[in-house]
Symmetry: C2
Subunit: 241 residues, 2 copies
């Protein structure tokens, strides 16, 4: 399979980006590394003159960027959603380095649209955004000065993905479930767990987050999800009796 | 050996940088990756307000940057000088990827000050600068859009160096010859080769460049250089008889 057609399956998703200049720099970084699908979720301001100057010829990426109102919409048709995390926290177990992430993603790329999601310049991704991510990646950096500029973070990720794909590549055929299928499943799971009294109705987030992380690691495909939903349906009808 | 003390032996050398903004972005990238020695060779303009804004707290790196009038001076007290090349050319054989370079450099870092040299935003390094480099590194990028922004190129190199050093590291004791010793040796070599009629006096550059590349690969230490110079002295006195 051709390297470029694999790279075409990667989207860079920027959530609530504040500085148009970063959008321009990121377009250039993406094109340097053979990426071309840029998705902007609620950008604070649209790309301006400086953004196009910094894109330095990668204008097409900005002009063809998809603008989306929510991260859930932006990643709905992607099978793999990878969130970038700045500060590995206690609740965030499943965190990989960019290199580990790239080597895991590459064999899946042929059959799975993959989004790498970046938070804004100040706060990174919030918990509701992280919950939509199937895996997390953190860029190693100095403990005393860890915060990368957004465009440099994108460059490191893009460079690792570009470098990890050999010129001729034999992909696997495994197609994972789409985000949309997963999210519908998680909604049914939460309703079911509430119905059977396993989940506190007031604070379900923490347990759901843990379950999401656990199930993401299993990389379910559409059939897996249909089976799991069948089980949930069975539990509910049992409980209703 | 502690990771930081190894990183302290790395200098980032920017030759004739045109845009102060890049100097600021580079300071931030360096500090993210634990690097702190910045050398500016003939910068077109000094760091300005925008540079400090983009440094985003890495001001100390700009303020402590060494400004130098020539690349030869800047790297004179370094044992390893690595040039960044944008377009792998015919004459440039000894080119490594950033990852290969990092894995080769790390074991030598404890005993050898290492400079990574970047050309300006428009032209990269010219042949006279490349001649001073013992090895070349090129960042893999898209054939159709290969030119990285300078600060993003620095980030990729800094990230590879930072990532390649484990937290606890057992270095080798091999200390290589300093650039200054090497350059004195190359001058003597060129004089000698001219004296014995091996080198055309009009166009010695090409052959000298090939010899430099060959000898760099051998990674000579001070004793090697003394021996080689002894041989050259012997050749000359033989020839003068």
């Amino acid at each position: 399979m051709h390297k470029q057609s694999l790279l075409d399956n990667i989207s860079i998703v920027l959530v609530e980006t504040r500085t148009p200049a970063n959008i321009g720099s990121i377009a250039r970084c993406m094109m340097n590394m053979g990426l071309n699908r840029l998705v902007l979720v609620n950008p604070l301001r649209p790309a301006d003159e400086e953004a196009f100057r910094l894109a330095a010829g990668a204008d097409v990426i900005i002009r063809q960027a998809v603008v989306s109102k929510s991260l859930a919409d932006a990643v709905a048709d992607h099978q793999l959603v990878i969130g970038t995390s700045r500060h590995p926290g206690k609740r965030r177990k499943n965190i990989r380095s960019p290199r580990e992430m790239a080597h895991e993603v590459i064999p899946l790329l042929a059959q799975n649209r993959t989004a790498v999601v970046f938070g804004n310049e100040v706060n990174g991704l919030d918990n509701s955004a992280l919950a939509l991510c199937h895996e997390l990646v953190a860029i190693p950096s100095s403990d005393s000065f860890p915060s990368l500029n957004l465009s440099h973070a994108v460059m490191v990720i893009a460079y690792e993905l570009f470098s990890a794909i050999p010129e001729n590549h034999s992909p696997t055929n495994q197609q994972l479930a789409k985000s949309e299928e997963l999210e519908n499943f998680y909604r049914q799971l939460q309703r079911t767990l509430e119905a059977i009294g396993f989940l506190e109705r007031e604070h379900p987030e923490r347990m759901m987050y843990t379950l999401r992380q656990f199930l993401s690691r299993a990389r379910p495909d559409s059939r897996d999800i249909r089976i799991l939903r069948g089980i949930l349906t069975a539990i509910t009808s049992q409980h209703d009796k």
